[in-house]
Symmetry: C2
Subunit: 492 residues, 2 copies
């Protein structure tokens, strides 16, 4: 693993940070329910697609400045379920090979986090896939267990025998897939879909029907087959951006159109080839989708799908209380590290929430405002995710407000003019090389004692240089003296 794979450590040579200890007034009642009966309230024919009431949205807005300005009756941004597919889509990631033990560890962690559904590789893929599917069904998790199969009776017969709570059926409907993948026409697809769905329903478990490559499928074909399967009582229909070509407004349009055609729930599965999978998921919920597919860190075919952490980040920004009530957010980093290790990748430095500098503030004007009120530059509260905020000060973009905060942390007394003067010196030194926290602290202490002793006043650059040189020489002498002492074991 790389040095900062776990998000803890910064690489060498990085500028040092000040941990900001700040309990700002806005206290949230931190009623994180470790895992409710999420997902289980949706019965076989639950059709739980709720429509938010205006009052609920108004209440939300009053609490949260990031909530949409105008109410939107289609939106499920505060009424959704996660179908976590690390153990299905994630297994299609180039690096993934999950043995039984790893699969069980991931399933348990996702369940403790609170995802409503866990989707597993088809038991038809291999003998071990079937055995693992059965083993996970027997764990007695709160999350519902799904498996994902081709739209084929052979696969369906195997799937329903594993003990799963539901079966996700998929078939390619785009002209591309119909021509280059399975070679079937829409009449054949419809007939097979009906057969498979009716078979799964006889077993009393959930069934979802999804097209593949939906955004390149003929719209009339799509709506027609969705309407047909809705009428025979499918629990969910699924839209899939299999190639990652969709953009947010296309997603909104398709989901909203579909919302007017079917009564059942709507699931969406979004690949991330152009980096839009999180935003597309958010927009799908706004248009009335009810279930979002995710994987941890987004692992899957190619660059993968909507990542669990990113989805949580944007939904938390819209309604923190709802997201905190559903999921055990402080587990996110642990789950990401578990999966990153299993598939031998680093958590990206730019990962929402857990990227190692997600809560690091650097530019002077940012640092100043953050110190006054974290909400100025932060929409996610790091403490809700078990994380900490940092303000970086030993660099040339630093500002005197951040330095003043450090002065106070060190228990030193300096006027604003003095702090500004010391800041100018930090900038000058940082123009040559980034200053460590130790460097900054030494400078502030030397500055402070110079002021106290009367050897220094604001603007006396040469006096400050002399004091700093003297300090360095004293430190060097102390180091030399300690180096001339024989090491302890040689004395003994």
């Amino acid at each position: 693993m790389c040095p900062h794979a776990n998000g803890d450590a910064l690489p060498n040579g990085t500028s040092q940070m000040v941990a900001v200890d700040m309990s700002n007034g806005a206290t949230h009642t931190s009623s994180v329910k470790s895992n409710g009966v999420n997902g289980h309230s949706n019965g076989v024919n639950g059709h739980s697609n709720g429509i938010n009431t205006g009052a609920k949205i108004l209440e939300q807005q009053q609490r949260n400045p990031y909530a949409p300005r105008a109410s939107d009756f289609l939106s499920n941004v505060s009424n959704f379920k996660i179908i976590e597919s690390t153990l299905r889509e994630g297994e299609q990631f180039a690096n993934a090979f999950f043995d039984t033990k790893t699969k069980i560890a991931i399933a348990k962690a996702l369940d403790a986090f609170g995802v409503e559904y866990i989707e597993l590789t088809s038991p038809a893929a291999s003998e071990q896939s079937r055995a693992d599917c059965e083993a996970i069904c027997k764990l007695g998790l709160k999350a519902k267990i799904l498996t994902h199969i081709r739209c084929h009776m052979d696969d369906a017969r195997i799937a329903v025998e594993t003990g799963v709570d539901g079966v996700d059926v998929v078939i390619g409907t785009s002209s591309f897939l119909r021509e280059f993948s399975h070679g079937k026409d829409m009449a054949y697809i419809t007939k097979t879909a009906i057969e498979v769905i009716e078979f799964v329903k006889t077993k009393g478990i959930e069934v979802r029907f999804s097209s593949e490559d939906s955004f390149r499928s003929d719209l009339v074909d799509l709506l027609s087959i969705y309407q047909t399967v809705d009428k025979i009582g499918v629990n969910r229909v699924g839209i899939a951006d299999t190639v990652g070509c969709a953009n947010p407004r296309q997603v909104y349009d398709l989901v909203r159109t579909l919302r007017g055609v079917v009564h059942c729930d709507i699931e969406i599965h979004l690949h991330n080839d152009t980096g839009m999978a999180i935003a597309n998921a958010y927009t799908a919920l706004e248009a009335g989708a009810t279930h979002i597919d995710t994987s941890v860190l987004g692992i899957g075919e190619r660059v993968g799908i909507t990542p669990l952490g990113g989805l949580v980040a944007c939904l938390y920004a819209a309604n923190p209380e709802y997201v905190k009530s559903k999921y055990n957010l402080s587990m996110l980093r642990e789950i990401e590290n578990l999966v990153a290790e299993a598939v031998e990748v680093n958590v990206p430095f730019s990962n929402p929430i857990t990227g190692y500098c997600a809560f690091t503030h650097k530019a002077g004007i940012h640092a100043k405002a953050i110190l006054n009120n974290p909400s100025t530059y932060e929409i996610l509260k790091p403490e809700d995710f078990g994380l900490t905020r940092y303000v970086s000060i030993g660099h040339r973009l630093t500002g005197w407000n951040a330095v003043k905060s450090r002065v106070e942390q060190l228990g030193l007394k300096l006027t604003d003019e003095e702090v500004k003067d010391a800041t100018a010196k930090i900038k000058e030194l940082a123009d040559v090389r980034t200053q460590s926290m130790d460097d900054v602290d030494s400078l502030l202490r030397v500055y402070h004692s110079g002021i106290q002793s009367g050897e220094l006043a604001v603007g006396q650059k040469e006096a400050l240089d002399r004091l700093l040189r003297k300090h360095r020489e004293e430190r060097q002498r102390a180091r030399d003296a300690s180096a001339s002492q024989p090491p302890l074991q040689q004395i003994c």
Copy 2:
């Protein structure tokens, strides 16, 4: 650096891949203009916000199945400029310390890639920042050089003396920033903005006025100040999602509203805290924005802003020919590696285009279709970015079509039934551990020679196991024999 930081190597233990050599019919005239006069066509008062003609969009649609279905006259998806801010926003990334040499290398690389603008840290930030700004202005790059300053006459006076082609002015307008950052009211902000803009205009260079934290600013305040600065002849107004709280439909609404209020160009700057910065940029262009801020790998405050590569990916998906004509796409990976090394991070495994598995296909049904026609599961042509496609086959999700392709590459002759039989064996072995390409090749060769010699037929599992065992034993004997030879230098 971590082992796969440069995107070349796969970590140990990863399943092996088949490089797919496939020249599919659709030849693009690869007229990559290394760098045109992009960005220079927008004069001081250019107001170059173009409106696409229906004919142009229709032509696009005929060429590209991923282009929007219906034409949209507001959209600038095929008419935009990039303001590349790695050397300004990127310098605010926790790890960034760019010395002069590194800044020049990055500026030259971005210029060769073809970005229209390069934005630099304020010369007021430090002495070295000013010197570097002057040095980059003297390079004679095709890209226009901008610097980014606070809305303050002191900063403006320094900026206009550096030789830049334009100045980007910013001030916080949200109630949060007005209360906790600079403490100024809208009347003061407007007065200062007019003073700074008129001053910069007297120097004959471009000037942009941007609010900060625009999505939490009062809409009437915002539109009012934008209208005022538009009337006095600002070149661009900027919208900034400084805290990364916006979602695509909010971005669309604000940009579209603003498009109806001002005549000048519209720039947008989007932070990525919830992972929506690429999609928000795309949506801003759809609503009529003209200029998008990016940084390489998205580096910036916290998790950064819209990444250059991600933006290119989504705009290429919408109109490949336009994007190829503007930018030297095969340089993307090199630029990302340059910046990743400078700030000591890894290119994320999930990075659009250059993530090390962005063109790796694994699941059986994907592999089959990709082998028939890459467009089935790919919206980006790897060859347009100087990259290669892989199909992974040594795992339990493999399919017989991918294996058949490998059989043909090895020059072996097997019937489809035989390939399916061999595939079943690969799945069985891969259920225990992922098979390397060498393992797969050995199995296929043993299978083929068994069929040829008559020792094996389809379905004879025991015979195949016996032949594989025999092959392993022979290989082991060969290895033992070579190990028992004394090493060369001992003989000499």
